[in-house]
Subunit: 314 residues, 2 copies
């Protein structure tokens, strides 16, 4: 049985798993990254965790390859990080080289957002979709476009969906631009929407919070309890997300949209305004084929996508 090892290294945790060619997750584990101890320390602990799984693993498993996911800007050819804000000091360390030396199998590397999309395509909400866009709504916004299970991109830095400008005279974004999608749908975007509207809603239950303490989950909880301001904010965020997705869909023709990340947990609040905006803005001939779904794999999408990358590269 051909088996592929997937490793998803994040700023906090490393998700590790073994997936068979037949899409069976045979084993999985999570260890802390502790990035401040440097790459060698973390990679040695990852290697130990993998060895432990291999020892306990099935006898007929034939480990054919490994995929490694990392955040930030990567030098895939040389198997190292160029820039990753949550792994400071890891730049230029030969990560795929380390694993190749350790495990004597082919090792492949990819950006973690792209791997999460590949994971959802292989084992999650994107199964069976010949094209797919995965948008990850968290502290920032990530995006990855797939065609037949392959990442579509013309430049290693491309795929930037969160800073699509949809409101050119709009609010300044953390990136320096104005009116990016992230000024509507991100932690700072939601806080901005609350800040601008709170004074008009003196009866809102959100008045009981310090502005800096308000997060998307808090707004979602109050929206679910019927607070009008909280609901309006989700409507505006959903509309903005729908506009950016419409621009993407009209341009590329992608018809399967998967929404992941923390903010997508409030999918019941986002879905309606997103769909209504898509219906209004996507060309009718394309809209009829559009499907939009919540991501299914959560934190595990990354290692699954890493295993898929290995399975499709060896």
């Amino acid at each position: 049985m051909k088996v592929f090892i997937g490793i998803d290294i994040g700023g906090t945790n490393v998700n590790i798993g073994m997936v068979s060619e037949e899409k069976q997750v045979l084993d999985e584990t999570v260890i802390g990254t502790e990035p401040e101890k440097g790459p060698e320390n973390a990679l040695n602990r990852v290697a130990s965790a993998v060895h432990q799984i291999l020892k306990a693993g099935q006898k007929n498993a034939d480990y054919k390859g490994m995929g490694v996911g990392l955040p930030g800007l990567l030098d895939i050819e040389n198997g190292c990080i160029i820039e990753a804000s949550n792994l400071p000091g890891w730049q230029h360390y030969g990560i795929t080289g380390f694993f190749k030396k350790h495990f004597k199998i082919p090792v492949f590397m990819e950006n973690d957002a792209n791997l999460a999309a590949l994971g959802e395509y292989w084992l999650g909400a994107g199964q069976g979709s010949d094209n797919m866009f995965m948008v990850t709504l968290g502290s920032g916004i990530g995006g990855a476009l797939l065609s037949n299970g392959k990442i579509m991109r013309l430049h290693p830095m491309a795929g930037e969906f969160g800073h699509m400008i949809i409101d050119k005279k709009g609010f300044p974004c953390t990136c320096g631009r104005k009116g990016c999608l992230e000024t509507f749908v991100s932690k700072h975007g939601f806080q901005r929407l609350v800040r601008e509207r709170l004074y008009k809603h003196p009866d809102s239950s959100l008045q009981n919070y310090a502005l800096a303490a308000i997060t998307p989950p808090i707004i979602a909880a109050h929206a679910s309890q019927g607070d009008m301001l909280a609901n309006r904010i989700f409507d505006e965020a959903g509309e903005a997300l729908g506009i950016a997705l419409s621009n993407l869909i009209n341009l590329t023709g992608v018809t399967c949209i998967i929404c992941g990340g923390g903010i997508a947990n409030a999918w019941d609040l986002l879905q309606k305004p997103v769909m209504s905006s898509l219906e209004q803005n996507v060309f009718a001939s394309i809209f009829s084929g559009v499907k939009i779904r919540k991501a299914a794999l959560g934190e595990k999408a990354g290692f699954m996508g890493a295993a898929y990358l290995a399975a499709n590269s060896v």
Copy 2:
């Protein structure tokens, strides 16, 4: 010598040409479309024109295939038009079938905007670019994205660049959306910008025109003569085009941009605000590789792209 026949059928004219595998345009001609006489009439006259060229043509020419460009929404599989506003009544007529029967060579069909992009890639301003986006600025805005000389799209209706929303609270577009790129950079977009600003510029030389008679070339002429309002309008249109291109570049990573169509004739007025907007909005790591150029082939790009399509399909 392998030769390919390119035919670009528009609402007014049909451009026809023969191009050798070695990129030599051996012969070319233009006839009127007269679309109101119906497809059979027009296609018969196109066939006669092609026969005339073939008769006069070089002895060693080996005609290997034909490409046909058409406007609007096409059913490429069945070789017919689904919907084309400037070829009314042509729907469902078997266009590739007609030419196959007539010339007994393989015939391929594609949207004219995509063929213009292929033409610029093969013989024009996009030569040598492994990826390329061609934007056509005319009464509307067209767009085509190429990767290694192939049209990138996931859906036959995709590639819609003119209705990218960049100003979600902006002016209503002819399409029903708000703040599309076309509300800034198109005939009606330019007229709208003049209408909104004319009252603030009582000394503008554009005051001498009826609003409905003002066109992009007129505004361009006055801008070149130093009229402040006309210059401001090109600055705003160029900034908007730059924002939409930045969204596209950040998303796809395309780095070679070719601008064609009538409005691109005023490239000396557009270039500066477009570049300044790209510099502000494209991620620095991508921007360093971005090239933006005026299209080189004009009306001939379509038949050249049609010949290229045939050369790459047989």
